[in-house]
Amino acid sequence: MIRDLFKALWKDKFARIALIVLGVIYLALFLADFIAPYTKDFSDRTMAYVPPSKVFAIDENGKFSKPYTYNYVREFDSDTLQIKYNLDRSQKHYIKFFAEGQTYKFLGLIPMKRHLFTTDNNGRIFILGTDINGRDVFSRLLFGGRISMTIGFLALFVLFPIGLLYGGISGYFGGKTDMIMMRFAEAVMSIPSFYLLIILASILPSGMTSSQRFMLIVLILALIGWAGFARVVRGMVLSIKTEDYVQAAQAIGASKLRIIIKHILPQTTSFVIVAMTLSVPSYILSESGLSFLGLGIQQPDASWGNMLKEAQEFTNILYRPWLLTPGFLIFVSVLAFNLIGDTIRDVLDPKSKVR
C-alpha cells in the first residue's frame, strides 16, 4: 500500500515538487555537520550581526577568478551614530570546497574535518549573515532544522497510540465509561490549544538538559492534540463495533482489549494515515510558535522558532532581514507537507474532494 501511495504522490505535479523539496531539506539536515561551514557552537563575538558575505567570482581587474570573499570590519560612524559593516578589501579569502575546517563528529559518531565549503583560517564565510552572538545563521538553520522538522513527527508517534487507545476503549465499552472519557476529552478540547500549550510549557523546570527539554516539548505537543483525535476514533469505533467480525470475535471469547486492538483499530488505518500527514505541519507550527515566544527550545540550541525570536526587534527587522530566513523555511516545509497531505487524502479517501 505504501508503494501505491508513493506512486500516486509522484504522479501529482504539486505533490512531486513537495516530495523533492522535503527530500532536499531532510537530506541537508541529515548532512548538516558536513554542509554547515561552522559547528553548532561556533561564535565570533566580533562579528555580531554581520550581513551575508559577498562572494565574488570576477576580480577587480574584470577577470574570472576562483570565488573569493572579503571579511567584514565593524566601524562606528560618529556622524550618523551607526555601526557600519564595510568590506576589508585588503585580503582576499578564497572559498575552498571539500576542504578541512572545524572538526565535528559526523552524526555524533565519526570525527571529521571536511566541510562542503569553507574558507581559510582567518577568513569568515557567512552566507546568511550572523546573529547577535556572531553565530553563522546558515549553520544554525541546518542544526535548528533538525529539531524543528523532527519534533512534529515525534509528537505524532506519542499522540496517535494514546488517541487510538483512548478512542477505542471509549467507543467499544460505551455507556458510563464512554460518557466520562468523552467529557474529559471535551474538556481538554475546550481550552484554546495555544493557551494550553504555553501553560504546559511554562511549568517545565528550568534546569533541564537540552535533550530532556526536547523530549518534554514533544510530550507537551502530544498532550494538546490527542483529545480531538480520540473523539474521531471513538466515532469510527462506534460504527465498526456492530460489524459481524467483531461479534464473531466476541463469540469466540476474545478479550475486550484484544478485540479493540486487533479487530477494531486496524480498520481505522487509512484515516490515521491521512490525519497524521495532515497534522505534521500544525505541530511544526506549534513548536516554532512556542520557541518564538521563548517557551520551547532554548538557547544555545537552535530551532527555527527560536531563531526568529531575534526578528521581533524593530532594528533587526529593518536592518537585518537575513534573520528572517528561518520563517521562509518553516513556510516552505509546511506548504510541502500540506500538499502531500492533500494528495494522500485524495488517494486514500476518494470521496472527499477537499483540494
Binding site: 475546550s190 484554546p192 493557551y195 501553560i199 521581533q312 524593530f314 506548504l335
Partner: protein
C-alpha cells in the same frame, strides 16, 4: 418549545464541562515548580511571619483539593482575586476580553463574507484554472506561520510608515473626538486583522468548497437539474442551503482556532488582548491571572460552540426533529 428545551439542555451541559476544565487547568498550574511566594521570600525586609500569612491567605498551606475548592467558590462568586502586582484580575480581564472579541469578530465576519463565496465559486468552477489558482493561494495561506506573517507585516509598517506599529490606540487617543477615535482603532486593527484573516480564510474556503462539491454530487441536485431548473436556482436555492449547514458547526471550531492564533498575533503586534495577557501571566507565573484567563478562554470557546449549535438548530430542520 422542543427547540427551547434542547437549547436549555445544551446550556446546562456546558456547566460540568467548565468544571472539568477548571480542574484540569488548576492542577496543571499547581504542578508548576515556580513558587508563587518566591519573590516575597527573597525580600529581606519581609519577615517570615508575613510570608506565612501570605501563604495562609492564598491557601497554599492546605492540600491541593482544598485550594481548588477555595478557588472555585470565589470564582463562582465572581471574585477572581488579585494579580501579583496587586491589580484586580477581573478589571484586567475586563480591559482585555473586549479587545480580543473585537479582533476575532471582525475576522470571522470578514472570512465568512469572503470565504463562503470563494468556496462556492471554486466548487462551481471545479477543476478550472480559477479553482486551481484558489487552491494554490489557500495552500499558501495555510502554510504561513501567523507570527512570521505578523513580523513581515510589521516590517512593512515600519518601512512605509503607513500603519501604526503595535497597540490598539495612539498615545493621544483620549483627546480625540468620536470619528477620530473610530478611525484610530480601525487603523491599528488593520494589520492584525490581515494576519488572522489570511490564515483562517484558507481553511474556510476549502471547507466550503468541499461541502459544496459533496452537495452538487447528491441526488437531489441531479434531480433538480434534470427537472430543467436553471443552474442559478440549482446552486443558490437547492445546493447552497445544504452546503452551509456543516459550516455553522465549523464556526465554533473557527472561533477556537482564532483564539489560539490570535495569541501569537497579539504578541507580535503588542495588541492588548486576552492572548497577550495570558502569555505575560504565564511568564510571571501569576496563578490567579493565568487561571482566570484560561477559564475566560474556555468559556469563550464553549460559548462559541454553543452559539454554533443553536444556529444550526435554527437553520437545519432535520436536527430540530431529531432532538
Amino acid at each position: 418549545m422542543e427547540t427551547l428545551k434542547y437549547i436549555i439542555k445544551r446550556i446546562l451541559q456546558t456547566i460540568p464541562l467548565l468544571i472539568i476544565v477548571s480542574m484540569i487547568s488548576f492542577f496543571i498550574i499547581r504542578l508548576s515548580p515556580v513558587d508563587p511566594l518566591a519573590e516575597l521570600k527573597l525580600n529581606p525586609s519581609v519577615s517570615p511571619e508575613t510570608v506565612e500569612k501570605e501563604r495562609a491567605r492564598l491557601g497554599l498551606d492546605k492540600p491541593i483539593i482544598v485550594q481548588y475548592g477555595k478557588w472555585a467558590i470565589s470564582f463562582v462568586k465572581g471574585d477572581l482575586g488579585v494579580t501579583s502586582t496587586g491589580e484586580k484580575v477581573s478589571q484586567k480581564l475586563g480591559e482585555r476580553i473586549p479587545n480580543t472579541l473585537l479582533l476575532t469578530t471582525i475576522v470571522i465576519l470578514l472570512t465568512w463574507l469572503v470565504g463562503v463565496p470563494l468556496g462556492i465559486i471554486a466548487a462551481v468552477r471545479w477543476k478550472t484554472n480559477l479553482d486551481r489558482i484558489l487552491t494554490v493561494l489557500t495552500s499558501i495561506g495555510m502554510a504561513i506561520p501567523s507570527f512570521f506573517f505578523a513580523v513581515l507585516l510589521l516590517m512593512f509598517a515600519v518601512k512605509t510608515g503607513w500603519f501604526p506599529v503595535g497597540g490598539l490606540t495612539s498615545p493621544n487617543f483620549a483627546d480625540m473626538n468620536f470619528g477620530a477615535k473610530f478611525w484610530d482603532i480601525a487603523h491599528h486593527l488593520i494589520l492584525p486583522v490581515i494576519v488572522l484573516f489570511t490564515i483562517s480564510l484558507a481553511g474556510l474556503q476549502r471547507q466550503m468548497r468541499a461541502n459544496m462539491l459533496d452537495v452538487l454530487d447528491s441526488d437531489y441536485v441531479k434531480f433538480a437539474r434534470a427537472k430543467g431548473l436553471s443552474e442559478n436556482v440549482v446552486i443558490y436555492k437547492h445546493a447552497l442551503r445544504n452546503a452551509v449547514n456543516p459550516m455553522i458547526t465549523l464556526l465554533g471550531f473557527e472561533f477556537a482556532g482564532l483564539l489560539s492564533g490570535a495569541a501569537l498575533t497579539e504578541y507580535v503586534f503588542q495588541y492588548p488582548g486576552l492572548g497577550r495577557l495570558i502569555l505575560e501571566a504565564v511568564l510571571k507565573s501569576d496563578i490567579n491571572l493565568v487561571m482566570a484567563s484560561l477559564m475566560m478562554g474556555a468559556i469563550m470557546l464553549v460559548a462559541g460552540n454553543l452559539i454554533a449549535d443553536i444556529l444550526l438548530i435554527i437553520t437545519d430542520p432535520r436536527i430540530r426533529s431529531k432532538s
